[in-house]
Symmetry: C2
Subunit: 136 residues, 2 copies
DNA sequence: GTCCATAATTAGAATTATTCTATTTTTGTT
DNA sequence: AACAAAAATAGAATAATTCTAATTATGGAC
């Protein structure tokens, strides 16, 4: 169970981020919760065990993680930004009915041919539809 | 120049939306401005010629248009929702440097194989990188 | 170990996009 | 003209995120 703490620390250091308690807690949370949480959810869940934690720190940390390419920012929902520490190629599906956000594994992210001179760092594909539960 | 008014009206009626002045103005704006505008931009641009226009109406109209599938909602940017009346298959590219949002034409939208029971109504692909200008 | 500079965290205020509410206006029908 | 239903409106309310100014933690030099 402590392997996750080490993993979180390594991931931060690998990207030149100083592993403070708060940053490790956020990183660890994202590694263990593959639920595409919002900043609010992360804060609410961590707060009881870290009563000095501030929402600003959660936002600061998430912004830093996204900037450095440690986690993915998911904008499949208009309202809230969501975060995902899983960097394996996969896309996101949102059920129009129940709101669930699910991972769909893919071999490789799709990047269409780009006009000359344009370079692409990353791509995200979002699908909207009905999930298996809501289709029955 | 009036053909656009007719086109806007047709598009609304085709989707069962009553073509009020305000709705036509928004629809017309989206057809003529392929800039992926925000609700704010649409309001600001229309307001001088329609001084009774309210921001709520712009939002109401955009939400209705998206619900009915008349326009696409683009969430490539965290902050603002953007809207696009072009329904031909294309994806969006955002330049990390200058913020421009550009269209990239594609043959067909990519929808990967889905687990059984899941149905997909639509998909959006967003690429982030550097545009031609910013690469030089 | 203490001193210092720098970086990180914090609480709460500020900002801003969007939605909601209650009212007024418009539209279409008898 | 009278009425009901739908649409538009202004402004208040909400909520996600950022900003600000102050506090706390960290790591190196001595």
């Amino acid at each position: 169970m402590d392997g996750i703490k080490i993993l979180a620390k390594e991931r931060l250091e690998l990207h030149g981020i100083k592993p403070s308690m708060q940053r490790m807690a956020v990183m660890e949370y994202l590694i263990t919760h593959r639920t595409h949480p919002t900043a609010e959810m992360i804060f609410t869940d961590l707060y009881p065990e870290m009563p000095t934690l501030s929402k600003a720190t959660v936002y600061n940390t998430l912004n830093l993680l996204v900037e450095r390419g440690v986690v993915r920012l998911i904008t499949i929902e208009e309202k809230n930004a969501r975060y995902d520490a899983c960097m394996d190629p996969h896309i996101h599906f949102r059920c129009r009915n129940c709101g669930a956000i699910l991972d769909i594994d893919v071999e490789k992210h799709w990047i269409p041919d780009m006009p000359a001179g344009m370079s692409v760092d990353m791509s995200e594909t979002y699908c909207i539809g009905r999930c298996t539960k809501c289709n029955n």
